[in-house]
């Protein structure tokens, strides 16, 4: 057996079941991992990857060397809308919907309290931080940084609950549920009236206690 054949034997042994490499998924089922490298005929060298050009509209008419490469494709409005979830301080990006303190109270007990505590006091073992209290502590030796005492924008609360909460099922809350649980937290914090329905309109009237608590970076030039 030659070295070449040895390499092939090794490649076959490495691939385990050579048939795996030839399998092409009949369905759109997710891949578990990359297929084993396929040995080239004759030499047995692993096949190197070739460039992949996905189907679809090309961007740019005449490909250039420094720009207009004609690579990628236009993003559709639907594609963008599906993941454009950010909410900004001026309310840009707020979802359609609304929620009340009462609805949020029930939801919080069910979905949030395990990590953040029945009284929103935080649960150390879970890493779920305290959400309310702490006003007037920021300049003390033991500052308590919470949504109430520290967060400068209510949009951040809505955005974050929407994108990443609850821990065990991130991104699972409906827009109404996000508004409700936000209304409950802001209500508990004494920032939003417990009778106010939180939606895009009432959002605009929220003033966070620490909204003026941030300054720009003075470095370099100061420590």
């Amino acid at each position: 057996m030659s070295m070449r054949e040895l390499a092939i034997a090794g490649a076959i042994a490495l691939a385990g079941l050579p048939a795996l490499a030839e399998d092409t998924p009949a369905t759109d089922a997710p891949r578990a991992f990359a297929a084993a490298v396929v040995p080239l005929p004759d030499t047995g060298e692993p096949t190197p990857p070739s460039p992949v050009i996905a189907g679809g509209g090309e961007v740019g008419a005449t490909p250039g060397l420094e720009r207009d490469f004609g690579i990628g494709r236009p993003a559709t409005e639907d594609e963008i809308a599906a993941i454009d979830i950010d909410v900004m301080p001026d309310g840009t990006g707020l979802m359609e919907g609304s929620g009340t303190y009462a609805a949020g109270e029930a939801l919080f007990a069910e979905r949030c309290a395990a990590c953040h505590g029945e009284a929103l006091e935080g649960v150390k073992a879970t890493g779920g931080p305290r959400l309310i209290g702490g006003r007037d502590t920021l300049a003390t030796e033991k500052p308590v940084k919470t949504v109430e005492s520290y967060w400068p924008y209510a949009s951040t609360l809505i955005d974050y609950v929407h994108r990443a909460m609850p821990m065990d099922a991130p991104g699972s809350l409906t827009a109404d549920e996000v508004y409700a649980v936000s209304a409950f937290i802001l209500g508990q914090a004494g920032i939003l009236g417990k009778d106010v329905t939180l939606d895009a309109e009432s959002f605009g009237k929220i003033v966070m206690p620490n909204a003026e608590g941030f300054v720009s970076d003075p470095r370099p030039g100061a420590y």
Binding site: G16, I83, T126, Y150
Partner: protein, 459 residues
Amino acid sequence: MSEENFPSDRYGPAERRMAEALVDLERRTLRAGEDAEACECREGMFPSLSRRGLLAGGVALGAAFAGNAVRADAPPGSVDYPVQPDPTREQGRMILDDGGYGSRSQFENEVRWRYPTDSLDSSWSMTPLASGQGIITPSGLHFERHHGGIPTIDPERHSLIVHGMVDRPLSLTVADLKRMPSVSRLHFIECSGNGLTEWVKPTLRTVQGTHGLTSTSEWTGVALSTVLREAGVQDGAAWILAEGSDAAVMTRSCPIDKAMDDAILAYAQNGEALRPEQGYPLRLLLPGFEGNTHIKWLRRLDVSDKPFMTREETSKYTDLMPDGKARIFTLDMDAKSVITFPSGAMKLPKPGFYEVSGLAWSGRGKVAKVEVSVDGGKTWTEAPLQEPVISKCHTRFRLPWVWDGTEAVLQSRCTDETGYLQPALKDLVAVRGTNSVYHLNAIQSWHVAPTGEVTNVHA
């Protein structure tokens, strides 16, 4: 095939092929000056090629990689091979016995260390700087910080969408990005929480604990400016939101000037694809900016005229000052250095020659100078810098030292090319107090006792 040497009732077809191949290899190696006929193949001519050895090799080579050769108590990333009493007296193990990817020696055991947060869901791991050499961090030892675990993403199902204030919203696959003009640069990434335990008193005992949230890799990808030019950034654009596709759907805002300057959409690290925990298949790299902004598992860039004020850049990664105000968008990592040898929890066996060695870096450019003190900062000696010295990259310094066996306090301080000098902790605390959490870049002190024991001290 030689049925008599490798009978089919004892050897499978693959084993026999490999055995035959090895025998053939030896025959041809020995052919010069020897009668090939005299070299009759027989089992046992390779001491290591016993049936057991073959089987073990076959298992290691085979499809399963079922861990037969990997013992739980062997160091992570290594394979527990039999140690040869005299490696000159028998053949070593077969090529590709490692499956074709390789592993480190079973006699090396440094690993990342998880900071003991209460919850496993939110944690970080730190690079073992004490045993590091040169300036590159092995990919498997690069520090980690995740906010929603490590996602497993098939690159064929992943794309990057660029939208907002652009003329041509784009959808780019990783394969698309790999076809575009590329850049490779060596850069450190440092979490701005590096050292957060050390503001008030020395807390962690090793340099891994005090400084292990910084690592350097060669990053390869597409300049973000290239992609933004393709999309056509509109007038008035000032910030870009970068968003990951992990469970935290991590988001940070990046100034457009930075994006157009040296930002990279990185798909490779140290010559191969990114490690999953480093953002596979795509991460943002903002050289010199705090690590949290280097969004991993990048799925979206939203161009805007305003910052987005995400959770990470408001409630976290803002620096609370003694007056109760907090600094926001403290993105640059100031110049910093640390001696990695000798360092905390080591013990110098006896007086004599030791080479002091460490790392220096700055988010604002190149390291210009590193000075070392062995007397707690009373006197300083310039330490030679090891080439290459690269902007926004770990730089290795070294200084020969003869320890006379008396008490010593080792310190390093670096100056970057902007002229900024790494501060003493008391000078930093005088301005920032002790509640700002992030951006501790003060001089580190290691106390060497007459016993040779090295400890973390504030000096």
